[in-house]
Symmetry: C2
Subunit: 151 residues, 2 copies
Amino acid sequence: MRQDPDGPHLRSGQVARRAGVNPQTLRYYERRGLIAEPARSPGGHRAYPPETVTLLTVIKAAQRLGFTLDEVAELIDTGRRGHPTPDLRARAQAKIAEVDARIADLTTIRTALTQVVTAGCDSLTNCTCPDCPLPYAGLATGRTPAEDRPS
Amino acid sequence: MRQDPDGPHLRSGQVARRAGVNPQTLRYYERRGLIAEPARSPGGHRAYPPETVTLLTVIKAAQRLGFTLDEVAELIDTGRRGHPTPDLRARAQAKIAEVDARIADLTTIRTALTQVVTAGCDSLTNCTCPDCPLPYAGLATGRTPAEDRPS
DNA sequence: GGTAAGCCTGTACTCCGGTACCGGATGCAA
DNA sequence: TTGCATCCGGTACCGGAGTACAGGCTTACC
C-alpha cells in the first residue's frame, strides 16, 4: 500500500481496463464519493494510484453481495476511519434479513404461479378453469373495499 | 359484463379510489395500452365503465405475480382475441423459471453474506479476519486479467 | 350564480446504476 | 511536429413504474 505521490500512476483508461469497468464509471463513482478525487496531470488528466484497481474490485464484490452504492460508500468510509456507523458484520446481517425477505416474496409468487399453471388458467380476465386461483393471486393485497363514499 | 353505453359510468377519481390506485396511474395505464380509452363527458372528462375497476385489480394481481406492465398488456390482449401469442400457462411457466433463477442468485448471495458474518470480517478494504472470504465474494466474476497491454 | 372539488393536458421528476454523446484539450510516440 | 488515442467537463439518456406539478377548465352542490 504505497502512497508515494510520485509513484506509478495510472490513467483513467488503464484503471478502467484493469478493473473491468467502463471509463465513465470511474467518474461516476468519483461523483458518488466511492473513490477519492485523484491527482491530476498538469493538463488536467486524472492520475490514479494503483490501489484504485483493488478498490474497484472491492466495490464490485460488495455490489455482488447486494449492497447499493450508497451502502458501499458508507462501508468504505467506516473502514477508513474508526467505526462511526454500524460495522460490516452488522450490515451483512441486516442484508441477510433483506435477502431472506426477498426470497420469501419470490417463493410466495412462485407458489401462486404454480397454482395458475396447475389449475390450467387460460386468461387473466376470463379464465374458464374450475377453482381459478387468479382472483386470489392476492399475496396480501391490503385492500379494504370501503373507500368509495362520496365526500 | 354490461356494455350499455349509457350505463353508470364512473369518473377517474372514483375508479382510482375503488381500485386503490393513484388517479394519475389511470392515465399512465391508458398511455401504456393496459386500459382502453374511455368515453368522455361533453366537457372532456373520462367516463369509465364499472368493469374498469375489475380490470385494474386483475392488472395488480398479475403484477404481484411478477409480470411487467408490457407482459400484462400482452396477456390482456391475448385473452381478448384468439391466442396470437403464447398463452397464460406458458407465460406463467416461463415466469416460474425466471423466479427460480432469481431465487438461486439470492441464495448464492445469502451464502456469501453468511460467510462474511461467520468469518468475522470487519472491513471491506482492510479485513483482518483469518481466511477472509471477501476477495472470493466473487459469484462468477468472469474477469480475465490480461487486458492491460499498451496498445 | 357562486364556489369548491375534481378533472384536463403536458411536462418534468423520482430511484438506481450506470452509459452515450459532444466539442475541445492533452499525452505520447514516431 | 504531427497525428492519433485518450481524456476532459457537461449534459442527456436507458428501463420500469409510476408520481408531482402547473395552469386552466368542468362539474356538482347549495
